[in-house]
């Protein structure tokens, strides 16, 4: 990982640590926010607000964590993400590990995709775009 992204990763870990009350030492880039760090839906909003404040950016609703999509009947049926839902998720989180997820697209498995590294990738792209 390049130095700038390393700094970004450290900043994101610190923010996640504050929001979820988890020691930074226990947070890795591949830590799942839900499964490993115990995040709930309110925590996603907390993290978004903290990121906006720290990086002075605006994160539109649903852009970083499309968690609301998961209660949309167009995109989730019988506990599984539909092909339309998967397309929406891929659009929202292009850096997600969708190939693995699409083999068994259970909503319960989505926790694996929402990782600390996903936030770092998202921010890296967002900040790079803003700098142009």
């Amino acid at each position: 990982m390049e130095p700038e992204k390393n700094q970004l990763a450290d900043a994101v870990k610190e923010i996640v640590s504050q929001a979820l009350k988890v020691e930074t030492g226990k947070i890795r880039l591949d830590s799942s926010l839900i499964k490993d760090l115990g995040a709930e839906s309110i925590d996603f909003l907390d993290i978004v607000f903290r990121l906006e404040k720290a990086f002075k950016i605006k994160i539109p609703k649903g852009e970083l964590f499309p968690e609301k999509l998961l209660t949309d009947s167009r995109f989730v049926q019988n506990g599984r993400v539909t092909p339309a839902g998967l397309n929406e998720l891929k659009k929202g989180i292009p850096s997600g590990k969708w190939e693995e997820f699409s083999k068994n697209p259970l909503v319960a498995n989505l926790g694996d995709v929402f990782t600390v590294g996903m936030i770092v990738d998202y921010l890296s792209d967002k900040l790079a775009a803003a700098a142009k």
């Binding site: 309110i42 607000f49 009947s73």
Partner: protein, 78 residues
Amino acid sequence: MPAFSPVIGIDLVEMKRARAFYRAHPERFSSAQDCAKSLAADEAVFKAYGRSLPKNNPPSVRFVTTKKFVMAQCVGIF
């Protein structure tokens, strides 16, 4: 006979949680209870309609507040 307003979406936010959230983001809400209401209403509306609604067509949300929690009930558009 009173009008019947079916509750079609509901959410509950603990005040303890809302207070912590408000402490972290005081610039976004006027009080911890306002924070709890906003969070609960947003979720209740989403549970009712499956997506966020345009601001010019707001749903009706009513609240039940106690010392320990705020409950939002989305009762539809009238």
